[in-house]
Amino acid sequence: MMPDPATLGAILLMAIVTYATRIGGYLLLGDRILSPRMTAVMDAAPGCVLVSVIAPAFAAGRSADLIALVATLFAATRLPLLPTVLIGVASAAMLRFMLPA
Protein backbone atom coordinates (compact mmCIF):
# COMPACT_ATOMS: atom_id res chain seq x y z
CA MET A 1 0.00 0.00 0.00
CA MET A 2 1.87 3.05 -1.32
CA PRO A 3 1.19 6.41 0.32
CA ASP A 4 -0.57 8.89 -1.96
CA PRO A 5 1.79 11.67 -3.24
CA ALA A 6 -0.74 14.48 -2.66
CA THR A 7 -1.27 13.25 0.89
CA LEU A 8 2.48 13.01 1.49
CA GLY A 9 2.91 16.55 0.14
CA ALA A 10 0.35 17.93 2.56
CA ILE A 11 1.92 15.99 5.43
CA LEU A 12 5.37 17.31 4.57
CA LEU A 13 4.03 20.86 4.42
CA MET A 14 2.44 20.45 7.85
CA ALA A 15 5.69 19.01 9.23
CA ILE A 16 7.74 21.94 7.93
CA VAL A 17 5.29 24.57 9.20
CA THR A 18 5.05 22.93 12.62
CA TYR A 19 8.81 22.53 13.02
CA ALA A 20 9.29 26.17 12.01
CA THR A 21 6.94 27.23 14.84
CA ARG A 22 8.90 25.03 17.27
CA ILE A 23 12.32 26.49 16.51
CA GLY A 24 11.12 30.00 15.56
CA GLY A 25 10.43 31.14 19.11
CA TYR A 26 13.81 29.91 20.32
CA LEU A 27 15.76 31.34 17.37
CA LEU A 28 13.96 34.66 16.87
CA LEU A 29 12.09 35.60 20.02
CA GLY A 30 14.29 34.20 22.77
CA ASP A 31 15.87 37.50 23.74
CA ARG A 32 12.94 39.73 22.89
CA ILE A 33 10.05 40.90 25.00
CA LEU A 34 6.78 40.42 23.15
CA SER A 35 4.15 43.15 23.17
CA PRO A 36 1.01 42.28 25.16
CA ARG A 37 -0.93 42.54 21.91
CA MET A 38 1.23 39.91 20.24
CA THR A 39 0.99 37.66 23.30
CA ALA A 40 -2.81 38.01 23.36
CA VAL A 41 -3.02 37.12 19.67
CA MET A 42 -0.86 34.03 20.04
CA ASP A 43 -2.73 32.95 23.17
CA ALA A 44 -6.11 33.20 21.44
CA ALA A 45 -5.22 31.84 17.99
CA PRO A 46 -5.26 28.06 18.63
CA GLY A 47 -8.71 28.19 20.25
CA CYS A 48 -10.00 30.42 17.44
CA VAL A 49 -8.97 27.82 14.87
CA LEU A 50 -10.37 24.85 16.78
CA VAL A 51 -13.74 26.50 17.38
CA SER A 52 -13.92 27.53 13.71
CA VAL A 53 -13.25 23.97 12.56
CA ILE A 54 -16.26 22.66 14.52
CA ALA A 55 -18.56 25.55 13.55
CA PRO A 56 -20.60 23.35 11.16
CA ALA A 57 -21.73 21.26 14.14
CA PHE A 58 -23.21 24.44 15.68
CA ALA A 59 -24.91 25.32 12.39
CA ALA A 60 -26.72 21.97 12.13
CA GLY A 61 -30.32 22.41 11.09
CA ARG A 62 -31.50 19.29 12.90
CA SER A 63 -32.76 19.63 16.46
CA ALA A 64 -31.43 16.16 17.39
CA ASP A 65 -27.90 17.25 16.39
CA LEU A 66 -28.13 20.51 18.30
CA ILE A 67 -29.42 18.89 21.51
CA ALA A 68 -26.65 16.27 21.26
CA LEU A 69 -24.11 19.05 20.80
CA VAL A 70 -25.33 20.82 23.94
CA ALA A 71 -25.05 17.54 25.87
CA THR A 72 -21.50 17.08 24.51
CA LEU A 73 -20.56 20.63 25.39
CA PHE A 74 -21.85 20.10 28.92
CA ALA A 75 -19.88 16.84 29.22
CA ALA A 76 -16.72 18.49 27.87
CA THR A 77 -16.73 21.11 30.64
CA ARG A 78 -16.50 18.52 33.41
CA LEU A 79 -15.41 15.09 32.10
CA PRO A 80 -12.22 13.65 30.57
CA LEU A 81 -11.97 12.95 26.86
CA LEU A 82 -13.23 9.39 26.65
CA PRO A 83 -16.52 9.79 28.56
CA THR A 84 -17.14 13.05 26.68
CA VAL A 85 -16.74 11.32 23.32
CA LEU A 86 -18.96 8.43 24.45
CA ILE A 87 -21.68 10.82 25.66
CA GLY A 88 -21.45 12.78 22.41
CA VAL A 89 -21.73 9.72 20.20
CA ALA A 90 -24.44 8.00 22.28
CA SER A 91 -26.58 11.14 22.63
CA ALA A 92 -26.34 11.89 18.90
CA ALA A 93 -27.29 8.31 18.01
CA MET A 94 -30.23 8.21 20.45
CA LEU A 95 -31.59 11.65 19.62
CA ARG A 96 -31.43 11.00 15.87
CA PHE A 97 -33.39 7.81 16.44
CA MET A 98 -35.97 9.51 18.68
CA LEU A 99 -36.30 12.73 16.65
CA PRO A 100 -36.15 11.76 12.95
CA ALA A 101 -35.37 14.62 10.57
Binding site: P3, C48, P56, L81, V89
Partner: protein, 244 residues
Protein backbone atom coordinates in the same frame (compact mmCIF):
# COMPACT_ATOMS: atom_id res chain seq x y z
CA UNK B 1 32.67 27.63 23.35
CA UNK B 2 31.85 26.98 26.96
CA UNK B 3 28.34 26.04 25.88
CA UNK B 4 29.63 22.93 24.12
CA UNK B 5 31.54 21.59 27.07
CA UNK B 6 28.74 22.31 29.51
CA UNK B 7 26.27 20.55 27.23
CA UNK B 8 28.37 17.40 27.39
CA UNK B 9 29.49 17.69 30.95
CA UNK B 10 26.88 15.39 32.48
CA UNK B 11 28.31 11.86 32.94
CA UNK B 12 26.59 9.01 31.11
CA UNK B 13 25.06 7.17 34.12
CA UNK B 14 23.59 10.43 35.36
CA UNK B 15 22.21 11.19 31.91
CA UNK B 16 20.62 7.78 31.80
CA UNK B 17 19.02 8.33 35.20
CA UNK B 18 17.65 11.65 34.01
CA UNK B 19 16.23 10.02 30.88
CA UNK B 20 14.51 7.37 33.00
CA UNK B 21 13.16 10.04 35.35
CA UNK B 22 11.64 11.83 32.37
CA UNK B 23 10.10 8.64 31.01
CA UNK B 24 8.53 7.85 34.39
CA UNK B 25 7.19 11.38 34.74
CA UNK B 26 5.58 11.19 31.30
CA UNK B 27 3.62 8.00 32.09
CA UNK B 28 0.36 9.65 33.22
CA UNK B 29 0.44 11.95 30.20
CA UNK B 30 1.13 8.97 27.92
CA UNK B 31 -2.03 7.33 29.21
CA UNK B 32 -3.90 10.57 28.59
CA UNK B 33 -2.64 10.64 25.00
CA UNK B 34 -4.03 7.21 24.12
CA UNK B 35 -7.73 8.05 23.60
CA UNK B 36 -6.88 11.19 21.60
CA UNK B 37 -4.47 9.19 19.46
CA UNK B 38 -6.99 6.41 18.77
CA UNK B 39 -9.72 8.90 17.86
CA UNK B 40 -7.36 10.84 15.57
CA UNK B 41 -6.21 7.67 13.81
CA UNK B 42 -9.79 6.50 13.32
CA UNK B 43 -10.89 9.91 11.99
CA UNK B 44 -7.91 10.07 9.64
CA UNK B 45 -8.70 6.64 8.23
CA UNK B 46 -12.32 7.73 7.72
CA UNK B 47 -10.94 10.61 5.62
CA UNK B 48 -9.07 8.12 3.46
CA UNK B 49 -5.58 8.21 5.00
CA UNK B 50 -3.94 4.81 5.02
CA UNK B 51 -2.55 2.93 8.01
CA UNK B 52 0.93 3.94 6.84
CA UNK B 53 0.09 7.58 6.11
CA UNK B 54 -1.29 8.20 9.59
CA UNK B 55 1.95 7.40 11.48
CA UNK B 56 3.89 9.36 8.83
CA UNK B 57 1.65 12.36 9.58
CA UNK B 58 1.78 12.04 13.36
CA UNK B 59 5.48 11.11 13.34
CA UNK B 60 6.62 14.03 11.19
CA UNK B 61 4.22 16.67 12.51
CA UNK B 62 3.70 15.52 16.14
CA UNK B 63 1.15 18.19 17.03
CA UNK B 64 -2.25 16.83 18.03
CA UNK B 65 -4.29 20.02 17.72
CA UNK B 66 -3.06 20.76 14.21
CA UNK B 67 -3.56 17.13 13.20
CA UNK B 68 -7.18 17.10 14.35
CA UNK B 69 -7.79 20.40 12.58
CA UNK B 70 -6.12 19.22 9.36
CA UNK B 71 -7.95 15.89 9.34
CA UNK B 72 -11.26 17.67 9.85
CA UNK B 73 -10.57 19.69 6.69
CA UNK B 74 -8.92 16.88 4.73
CA UNK B 75 -10.13 16.40 1.17
CA UNK B 76 -8.80 14.27 -1.67
CA UNK B 77 -6.50 15.80 -2.82
CA UNK B 78 -5.91 17.99 0.26
CA UNK B 79 -6.11 21.77 -0.08
CA UNK B 80 -2.48 22.76 0.64
CA UNK B 81 -3.03 26.44 1.41
CA UNK B 82 -5.83 25.64 3.85
CA UNK B 83 -3.94 22.80 5.58
CA UNK B 84 -0.71 24.82 5.82
CA UNK B 85 -2.48 27.95 7.08
CA UNK B 86 -4.52 26.12 9.69
CA UNK B 87 -1.41 24.25 10.88
CA UNK B 88 0.39 27.56 11.27
CA UNK B 89 -2.49 29.12 13.22
CA UNK B 90 -2.96 26.16 15.54
CA UNK B 91 0.77 25.83 16.20
CA UNK B 92 1.80 29.47 16.44
CA UNK B 93 1.64 29.09 20.23
CA UNK B 94 4.91 27.12 19.84
CA UNK B 95 6.59 30.45 19.08
CA UNK B 96 5.69 31.71 22.54
CA UNK B 97 6.63 28.43 24.16
CA UNK B 98 10.03 28.38 22.43
CA UNK B 99 10.68 31.95 23.50
CA UNK B 100 9.88 31.04 27.12
CA UNK B 101 12.19 28.02 26.85
CA UNK B 102 15.14 29.94 25.37
CA UNK B 103 16.65 31.34 28.60
CA UNK B 104 16.95 27.78 29.97
CA UNK B 105 18.66 26.50 26.81
CA UNK B 106 21.49 29.05 26.63
CA UNK B 107 24.11 26.62 27.92
CA UNK B 108 23.34 24.08 25.19
CA UNK B 109 24.71 24.15 21.63
CA UNK B 110 22.21 24.64 18.82
CA UNK B 111 22.99 21.26 17.30
CA UNK B 112 21.45 19.74 20.46
CA UNK B 113 18.66 22.26 20.95
CA UNK B 114 17.25 22.26 17.40
CA UNK B 115 16.63 18.49 17.24
CA UNK B 116 15.30 18.51 20.82
CA UNK B 117 12.78 21.23 19.94
CA UNK B 118 11.21 18.91 17.36
CA UNK B 119 9.62 17.14 20.34
CA UNK B 120 8.29 20.28 22.00
CA UNK B 121 4.57 19.80 22.54
CA UNK B 122 2.38 21.47 25.18
CA UNK B 123 3.05 18.70 27.68
CA UNK B 124 6.81 18.16 27.18
CA UNK B 125 7.31 21.92 27.23
CA UNK B 126 5.33 22.37 30.42
CA UNK B 127 7.09 19.46 32.15
CA UNK B 128 10.56 20.52 31.01
CA UNK B 129 9.94 24.08 32.12
CA UNK B 130 8.46 23.05 35.47
CA UNK B 131 11.46 20.80 36.10
CA UNK B 132 13.88 23.60 35.17
CA UNK B 133 12.14 25.98 37.58
CA UNK B 134 12.36 23.39 40.36
CA UNK B 135 16.02 22.89 39.47
CA UNK B 136 16.69 26.61 39.64
CA UNK B 137 15.05 26.81 43.06
CA UNK B 138 17.10 23.82 44.25
CA UNK B 139 20.25 25.63 43.12
CA UNK B 140 21.19 23.32 40.23
CA UNK B 141 23.91 25.05 38.21
CA UNK B 142 22.13 24.11 34.95
CA UNK B 143 18.45 24.09 35.91
CA UNK B 144 17.26 22.65 32.59
CA UNK B 145 17.91 18.92 32.19
CA UNK B 146 18.00 18.01 28.51
CA UNK B 147 18.04 14.29 29.31
CA UNK B 148 14.91 14.59 31.47
CA UNK B 149 13.14 16.56 28.74
CA UNK B 150 14.15 13.96 26.14
CA UNK B 151 12.90 11.17 28.40
CA UNK B 152 9.51 12.88 28.63
CA UNK B 153 9.53 13.48 24.88
CA UNK B 154 10.42 9.92 23.88
CA UNK B 155 7.57 8.51 25.94
CA UNK B 156 5.01 10.96 24.55
CA UNK B 157 6.22 10.72 20.96
CA UNK B 158 6.24 6.92 20.89
CA UNK B 159 2.76 6.78 22.44
CA UNK B 160 1.32 9.32 20.00
CA UNK B 161 2.72 7.70 16.85
CA UNK B 162 1.96 4.13 17.90
CA UNK B 163 -1.62 4.75 19.04
CA UNK B 164 -2.59 6.98 16.11
CA UNK B 165 -1.40 4.13 13.85
CA UNK B 166 -3.47 1.69 15.91
CA UNK B 167 -6.48 4.00 15.61
CA UNK B 168 -6.03 4.04 11.84
CA UNK B 169 -6.03 0.23 11.79
CA UNK B 170 -9.10 0.00 14.02
CA UNK B 171 -10.98 2.83 12.29
CA UNK B 172 -12.13 0.88 9.23
CA UNK B 173 -13.47 -1.83 11.54
CA UNK B 174 -15.86 0.74 12.99
CA UNK B 175 -17.10 1.56 9.51
CA UNK B 176 -18.63 4.86 8.48
CA UNK B 177 -18.23 7.02 11.57
CA UNK B 178 -20.97 9.43 10.56
CA UNK B 179 -23.50 6.66 11.15
CA UNK B 180 -24.76 6.01 14.67
CA UNK B 181 -23.58 9.44 15.85
CA UNK B 182 -19.86 8.76 15.60
CA UNK B 183 -19.45 12.11 13.86
CA UNK B 184 -20.13 13.77 17.22
CA UNK B 185 -16.75 12.42 18.41
CA UNK B 186 -15.06 15.19 16.45
CA UNK B 187 -16.68 18.21 18.16
CA UNK B 188 -16.37 16.30 21.44
CA UNK B 189 -12.58 16.06 21.07
CA UNK B 190 -12.31 19.71 20.12
CA UNK B 191 -14.46 20.87 23.01
CA UNK B 192 -12.22 18.94 25.41
CA UNK B 193 -9.12 20.47 23.76
CA UNK B 194 -10.70 23.92 24.13
CA UNK B 195 -11.44 23.31 27.79
CA UNK B 196 -7.73 22.56 28.22
CA UNK B 197 -6.92 25.97 26.72
CA UNK B 198 -9.54 27.80 28.77
CA UNK B 199 -8.15 30.60 30.93
CA UNK B 200 -11.04 33.01 31.53
CA UNK B 201 -14.23 34.27 29.93
CA UNK B 202 -12.36 37.36 28.82
CA UNK B 203 -9.61 35.29 27.19
CA UNK B 204 -12.25 33.18 25.43
CA UNK B 205 -14.16 36.12 23.92
CA UNK B 206 -12.18 35.90 20.65
CA UNK B 207 -13.32 32.26 20.40
CA UNK B 208 -16.94 33.45 20.45
CA UNK B 209 -16.16 35.87 17.62
CA UNK B 210 -14.52 33.05 15.67
CA UNK B 211 -17.49 30.77 16.21
CA UNK B 212 -20.04 33.37 15.11
CA UNK B 213 -18.10 34.35 11.99
CA UNK B 214 -17.32 30.73 11.10
CA UNK B 215 -21.01 29.75 11.38
CA UNK B 216 -22.05 32.69 9.19
CA UNK B 217 -19.43 31.95 6.53
CA UNK B 218 -20.23 28.23 6.64
CA UNK B 219 -23.89 28.98 5.92
CA UNK B 220 -23.19 31.57 3.20
CA UNK B 221 -20.01 30.45 1.38
CA UNK B 222 -19.41 26.97 -0.05
CA UNK B 223 -16.14 25.19 0.79
CA UNK B 224 -13.96 25.26 3.92
CA UNK B 225 -13.45 29.05 3.99
CA UNK B 226 -15.32 29.24 7.27
CA UNK B 227 -12.15 28.04 9.04
CA UNK B 228 -9.71 30.78 7.96
CA UNK B 229 -12.51 33.39 8.13
CA UNK B 230 -13.47 32.42 11.69
CA UNK B 231 -9.86 32.09 12.83
CA UNK B 232 -8.79 35.45 11.41
CA UNK B 233 -11.85 37.22 12.85
CA UNK B 234 -11.09 35.82 16.31
CA UNK B 235 -7.41 36.72 16.12
CA UNK B 236 -8.30 40.29 15.05
CA UNK B 237 -10.69 40.52 17.98
CA UNK B 238 -7.95 39.31 20.35
CA UNK B 239 -5.61 41.92 18.90
CA UNK B 240 -8.19 44.70 19.30
CA UNK B 241 -9.13 43.68 22.86
CA UNK B 242 -5.58 43.22 24.14
CA UNK B 243 -4.70 45.47 27.05
CA UNK B 244 -2.01 47.86 25.78
Amino acid sequence: MTGMTQGRSMPVPERRAELARGLRASLPVMIGFIPFALVLGAQASAKGLGALEVPILTGLNFGGGSEFAAIGLWTSPPHLLLIGGVTMLVNCRHLLMGAAFAPYLRHLPRRQVLPALFFMCDESWAMGLADARLGARAGRSQPFSLAYYLGVSIGLYATWVAFTALGALLGPVLGDITRYGFDMAFPAVFLVLLRGMWKSVRAAMPWAVSLAVAIAVYLLVPGAWYVPAGAVAGVLAACAWARP
